[in-house]
């Protein structure tokens, strides 16, 4: 059941990204180009996604557990650390340069052409690079 609903949720997410224009890099870059010829339409996509989720978080809080009996995600961490800020800034640079963020990069895999595959591979490489850096930092912090 978990797998079925994960598949359904992923499929609905992918279809939503395609239909809303989030996989069209021209549209995404037009949205980020606030100081150029700004295309505000994707703000409605983000807003339209946030609204049902506000309701979902309320329902989740009242129920205390997910429908399949699994515990809900823990309360959000409130700390704003340098990693959050640096990582988000780096993500902002990459998102603007290509016009793709992780969800749409995967959703468009079948129709994004070879450069879409190159983007996804570079993104995965970046994720593994961060994992290696993070593991190294943890090692250094450990007493010998």
């Amino acid at each position: 059941m978990r797998l079925l609903f994960a598949l359904l949720s992923g499929g609905l997410f992918g279809a939503g990204l395609l239909v809303s224009g989030m996989t069209d890099t021209t549209k995404v870059q037009g949205w980020l180009d606030i100081f150029g010829t700004w295309d505000p339409t994707l703000a409605f996509v983000l807003g339209g996604a946030i609204l049902p989720m506000i309701v979902a978080w309320r329902v989740a809080a009242r129920r205390g557990a997910a429908a399949l009996g699994t515990p809900l995600p823990p309360k959000p961490d409130r700390r704003l650390d340098p990693r959050l800020l640096t990582g988000s800034a780096l993500f902002g640079v990459g998102w603007a340069l290509a016009g793709l963020c992780p969800g749409p990069a995967m959703a468009s895999l079948s129709y994004g052409g070879p450069q879409g595959i190159v983007f996804l591979l570079a993104m995965i490489a970046g994720m593994l690079i961060w994992r290696a850096i993070d593991a190294g930092l943890l090692d250094k912090g450990r007493p010998a």
């Binding site: 990582g87 902002g92 603007a96 969800g103 994720m127 994992r131």
Partner: protein, 128 residues
């Protein structure tokens, strides 16, 4: 649809729908305890748009053919989203909607830096 997908994943599976975390945990080994659930989500995320592209209409991503920019951007998105522990779906959709300070701040930072990058790369340097 995006909000519905996130609500479904939260209320039925009890999980936060974050694209970078679901993929990142699957490739770097940190999320192998629920690997099948991640892979099922990713299969839907890739598969359903593929079905739409094959049957209804094939969309165009208009992604640049400049591979130097594509690789640079991919690396930045990969490192950045894992360092910050979230991207547009995790911080933007799921974080903001639960009024998480980290989600709100992360979204303001990547949107602000993204807009600044557009000014520099498009209007000053003309590379994108």
């Amino acid at each position: 649809m995006i909000g519905g997908a996130a609500a479904l994943f939260l209320l039925v599976n009890g999980r936060i729908m974050g694209a970078s975390g679901l993929l990142g945990g699957a490739v770097d080994g940190t999320g192998w305890s629920n690997l099948l659930e991640r892979l099922a989500f990713l299969a839907g995320l890739v598969g359903v748009p593929a079905l739409i592209a094959m049957t209804i209409a094939r969309p165009d991503t208009h992604l640049t053919g400049n591979l130097a920019i594509v690789v640079l951007a991919g690396l930045a998105v990969g490192i950045g989203t894992r360092m910050a522990n979230g991207c547009t779906s995790g911080h933007g959709v799921c974080g903001i909607s639960r009024f998480s300070p980290r989600g709100i701040v992360a979204t303001l930072v990547y949107l602000g830096v993204g807009a600044t990058t557009m000014v520099i790369a498009r209007h000053l340097l003309g590379v994108i």
